[in-house]
Amino acid sequence: MAGAAPYSDERAREIIAAHMGLEGPALPILHALQAEFGCVPESAVKEMAGALNISRAEMHGVVTFYHDFHSAPQGRHHLKICRAESCQSMGAEKQANEFLARHKLDWGQTTPDGSLTVEPVYCLGLCAHSPSALYDGEPIGLVDAETLDSLVEEAKGK
């Protein structure tokens, strides 16, 4: 994401400590770490394992289970394109495949300049406006090829 801070163990420890009062704090901590650093690096996993008093392997298992968490930084911007059934009923699969081909990308990949990561998403709850997408948290209904292409351009600029 845009504006991610460089990783430091000290800052990670602060973030972890701020959540230790919660019951079952792992997911809130992981979200906070990723919001801060743009990803959850291996060193942060080690810090978490120590704070939560579980093995590193176990902590690694948790982080890797969830689609949202990444061990390395992603593109500065994120585009999630829905490929669930409702969007498919309006031709989303073909549209997405053509888009990926046009930009020489595959699902989960980032453009070579590091500006945009494209991921699949399985339903955004915008099913009456299929096909839909989410760009940096902003929902877009009735998305078409032109809109998708313009987002690639927009991401490049920032």
Binding site: G24, F69, L126, A128
Partner: protein, 516 residues
């Protein structure tokens, strides 16, 4: 001062509602017009979003779908007084789509400012909780049981029995958990109620906590819903400030609080035991049942896990009485179902009506048929794990048992319509692929079965030993259905089997092509 409503609902925002609200404010200021813009929930007529509503003496007049480019002409047409304009749809309450409904759970959604406690109270909010405090916790459990409310998350388990099981557990820490991991394609009712009437969910949870003797509630929300997270968190804070959450709620001596937790993109966490594991900070892997979450739930304590809609319906049931609700519906499907009409339809949206309405009436009449104008081929009802229902079954009345009798399910009430351009063997393959991607991996039928399912369907689609592989696929579906630990593996065969059963020709196309 004219009151204008512009939804904050994610679907409205996806169609430009935020930009529209800014443009209306700017244009009003430029013209020196006094307006108050309320960001409400959606009325559910999603094809009209963003829908501007203007409060007039005649009622709330709607204009939609409104774009920023329409703003100047709306002002020119005197829309602040309900003036004529091509986008004018008349008084929204009088619109045929609204008038045909029986809004119960969604009675306030789109009407009130979702973040105003006084408005919520003015529209009968917290009456249910007050009545709960009056009649006492045992009577509340009985009332919920008598209403006939069944879990709206899909499984349809009687809510009253679940609550009673937890209430009957020895006193001590108990939890209320709301499943807001609405991951099914074609469903958005949870999202809409949490954006449009979040206090109803908070009130429902509080009533539940009071009934079972629990003081803490968690809402587990999927991360794909950023607008919900913002609105619902704000609603929690508003409720707390007004004394409807926290210590000694309104002098009742009852303490209850709600915490919002965000998931991390795992579909399986919509399964209740995976959800609990995830809340505890673990991998979202299903637990074997028994023990039921009602006995051993979150952090090992007795826990009610309810879907958003079930919980948000509770305040109305408490306010109107169990009998009022039980009198609606058909057979053992009591009350109303907020249908979510989606996919390839002209008029998509949220339509709440008593159980029993035929599926075909919803699709052909209410939804107006397909958006592409081509004939309807099938509707997938109940999410990605729901069956594909062909035209020949469109007479089916909406009800749990009625759908189950044809090996279909109503799930969460989502209806995704497809036109005749769809290839059902592809959709069957997609169903298996989705299961393979999202499987938590704990049980073999789901973990391996889904991957083998994709391979087998690929062979069929390539025309390779079609008859033999269809038999193999059916056998595999049977194993997944009866051998999987949870509904992900257990229900993944529904779309596949229904596609095979109702649209066999789609699985033989490539074989025919290959033979030619």
């Amino acid at each position: 001062m004219t009151k204008i409503y512009i939804p904050l609902d994610m679907a409205a925002v996806a169609m430009g509602a935020d930009r529209l609200a800014a443009a209306v404010a700017e244009e009003a200021a430029r013209r020196g017009q006094q307006v108050e813009i309320v960001r409400n929930g959606s009325r559910g007529m999603l094809w009209l979003e963003p829908l501007i509503e203007v409060e007039t003496p005649a009622g709330r007049v709607g204009y939609g779908p409104a774009k920023t480019k329409d703003v100047a002409s709306l002002f020119d047409a005197g829309f602040l007084a309900g003036g004529a304009h091509p986008l004018n749809i008349g008084v929204v309450d009088e619109h045929p789509w609204m008038k045909r409904q029986n809004r119960f759970t969604f009675v306030r959604c789109g009407i009130i400012d979702p973040l105003s406690v006084p408005e919520y109270e003015a529209h009968n909010g917290f009456k249910g909780l007050k009545r709960a405090f009056e009649i006492g916790s045992a009577a509340v459990v009985e009332e919920v049981a008598k209403s006939g409310l069944r879990g709206r998350g899909g499984a349809g388990f009687p809510t009253g029995i679940k609550w009673k099981t937890v209430a009957d557990c020895a006193p001590g820490q108990k939890y209320v958990v709301v499943n807001a991991d609405e991951g099914d394609s074609g469903t958005f009712a949870d999202r809409m109620i949490m954006e449009g009437d979040p206090l109803a969910l908070i009130e429902g949870m509080t009533i539940c906590g009071y009934a079972i003797g629990g003081s803490k509630g968690y809402v587990y929300l999927r991360s794909e819903y950023p607008v919900v997270a913002k609105v619902f968190q704000a609603a929690i804070e508003k409720a707390r400030e007004a004394g409807w959450l926290g210590k000694n709620i309104k002098g009742s001596g009852f303490d209850f609080d709600v915490e919002l937790r965000i998931g991390a993109g795992a579909y399986v966490c919509g399964e209740e035991t995976s959800l609990l594991e995830s809340l505890e900070g673990k991998r979202g892997i299903v637990r074997a049942k028994p023990p039921l979450p009602a006995h051993v739930g979150l952090f090992g304590k007795p826990t009610v896990v309810n879907n958003v809609l079930s919980m948000a319906t509770i305040p109305m049931i408490m306010e109107k009485g169990a009998q009022h609700y039980a009198d609606l519906g058909i057979g053992r499907s009591r009350g109303t179902m907020p249908l979510q009409i989606a996919g390839n339809v002209k008029y998509g949206g949220l339509f709440e009506i008593d159980f029993g309405i035929p599926l075909g009436e919803v699709i052909n009449d209410i939804a107006g048929g397909t958006r592409t104008g081509r004939p309807v081929k099938a509707a997938q009802v109940g999410g990605p794990l729901g069956a594909y229902v062909p035209q020949s079954l469109f007479h089916l009345p909406f009800g749990y048992e009625e759908f189950a009798a044809t090996d279909s399910l109503i799930g969460h009430g989502g209806i995704v319509v497809f036109d005749d351009a769809i290839d059902m063997s592809w959709m069957a393959r997609f169903g298996m692929e989705f299961c393979a991607i999202e499987s938590c991996g704990k049980c073999t039928p789901c973990r391996i079965g889904s991957t083998r399912g994709v391979e087998t369907i690929d062979k069929i689609r390539n025309g390779q030993d079609v008859d033999k592989n269809i038999e193999l696929l059916k056998d595999l579906c049977h194993t997944m259905k009866f051998g999987s630990l949870c509904a992900l593996g257990g229900f993944a065969p529904y779309p596949v089997e229904s596609a095979l059963r109702h649209f066999p020709e789609d699985f033989r196309k490539s074989a025919l092509e290959a033979a030619e």
